[in-house]
């Protein structure tokens, strides 16, 4: 019962943080330099690892499915399978997991450190709301960078699959055939749904990580504990949200 109350308390606290942050949206223009800095940290710095990860996700998917589909004579549809899987599920989820580990942990560590060393208290006494200066630019940046990163990740995943199909001897499907199959069953809505999912995941990750960071109490040891808590919570949240968002996006 105590744990349930604590969970409800945390959810309420996250909602309050969100509402307070949203109340500062009209001041976003003043936070433009911080927004650009966060776009650089979240987007540009994550780009190499996103491309590598998604490229190999597409490659492995093509390799595994090619091996099985070759047996049942449907290997000309590998492009469809890899394309749809990457765009609707693996792309957004894997990029979100990566963002949780790389960006979420960094955000929590930074804000927790600011909290422990009283920098957040200093902001409060200066009448500078931490939500305006610390949370808003990060939330705005993730909303802009998450679809960009996911789109790049999806394209890398597709090309990873295409390369494996072309150069693996037991698959041997040309890039033209692979992309023709990919386009044949792909709708614009699939891409939009994938990017929407990524947007939801990114927003939830940054919000939760900011909340945990700003609510860190104690000394330096608690900074590490907060980072672990933020990453674990984000990973659980990604998979739980994935189910509900997928369900909401599937046409009835």
């Amino acid at each position: 019962m105590k744990q349930l109350t604590a969970v409800i308390g945390h959810i309420g606290s996250v909602v309050l943080l969100l509402l307070r942050t949203l109340s500062f949206v009209p001041t976003l223009g003043r936070q433009f330099p911080r927004f650009i800095e966060q776009c650089y940290l979240i987007g540009y710095n994550s780009l190499p690892i996103v491309t590598i990860l998604t490229f190999f996700i597409g490659s492995v998917l093509a390799l595994q499915s090619g091996h099985s589909m070759e047996d049942i004579g449907t290997k000309q549809f590998i492009g469809t399978l890899v394309g749809l899987s990457v765009v609707r599920e693996l792309g957004p989820v894997m990029v979100a997991i990566l963002i949780a580990g790389r960006v979420g942990s960094a955000i929590t560590a930074e804000l927790a450190s600011m909290k422990v060393y009283q920098e957040v208290d200093a902001l409060i006494t200066m009448d500078i709301p931490p939500e305006r200066m610390l949370v808003l630019p990060r939330l705005a940046a993730i909303l802009v960078m998450m679809p960009v990163l996911t789109l790049i990740g999806i394209i890398c995943g597709w090309y990873g699959g295409a390369l494996v199909c072309q150069y693996t001897h037991f698959i041997s499907i040309s890039s033209e055939t692979y992309f023709a199959a990919l386009k044949a069953y792909m709708k614009n809505q699939d891409v939009i749904d994938g990017l929407l999912k990524a947007e939801v995941f990114g927003f939830a990750i940054v919000l939760v990580c900011c909340h945990i960071g700003l609510n860190t109490r104690g000394g330096p040891r608690e900074i590490g504990a907060s980072v672990t808590k933020a990453v674990v919570t984000s990973l659980i949240l990604i998979l739980v949200l994935d189910y509900f968002v997928t369900k909401a996006l599937i046409p009835s």
Partner: protein, 267 residues
Amino acid sequence: MSTPSHSPVTGKTFGVTVTHLTKRYGRNTVLHDINLDIKPGETFVIMGPSGSGKSVLLKQIAGLEQPTGGEVRIDRLDAADPRTRAKIRLALVFQAGALFNSLSVYDNLALYPREHRLADEAGIRERVMHALSILSLEKAVKKFPSELSGGMKKRVAIARALVMEPQLFLYDEPTSELDPVMSATISEIIGTLREQTAVTSIVVTHDRLLALSIADRIALIMDGRIVSIGTPADFKNSADPVIANFLNPVIDLKNPRFKQLENNHEQ
């Protein structure tokens, strides 16, 4: 020492009233029924040993925590209400400085006027450089907090507070972790600022030399209770053994505790 109710630098300054203030963390009561009446323009020192609850009291005055019971009023406004900070410029110099590590000294000082749009960039620069010159920190302008010594961090923190042109100055252990020379320098700075700005200052410290040299009045806090309030002269002349022992602690090497340590060492 006179206590003018208006500051020549910042315009108005305010008094602080603490009424029946209690603070509990779980079952641990840190502050017991604290009552204080700090007058406008006064330099009020809250003095006490480590763990006596003086920093917790300062947090309640700064509005950083909600009291469990009682209230703190700054010019009749509730200190715990976030809207009070929009009406009263309150500067808190934190024990460890609480400088923003990702910002240079200049940007640390420029943050407040920038965020509150108090001037254009040229005006902000003038304001920042003026504050830095008061504390002889011009050479540190491009440095980052990690490149500063403990004493410099404290001076930058005071300069950052000065840029705010505060109407209420709060200091949390301004001389802790400093060598005697730097402690004396910080004491001088606080005293000079008190003379120049005439802003109400509340200083929390366990440094009795600092307390006796800068205070208009001193409150001695022990175990979360105010034991005594008076002027530095009252404290110096007090016959109360608690006050006398705090101001002039006697180290008794024949104390059984020391004897025990000695025996352990020999073994």
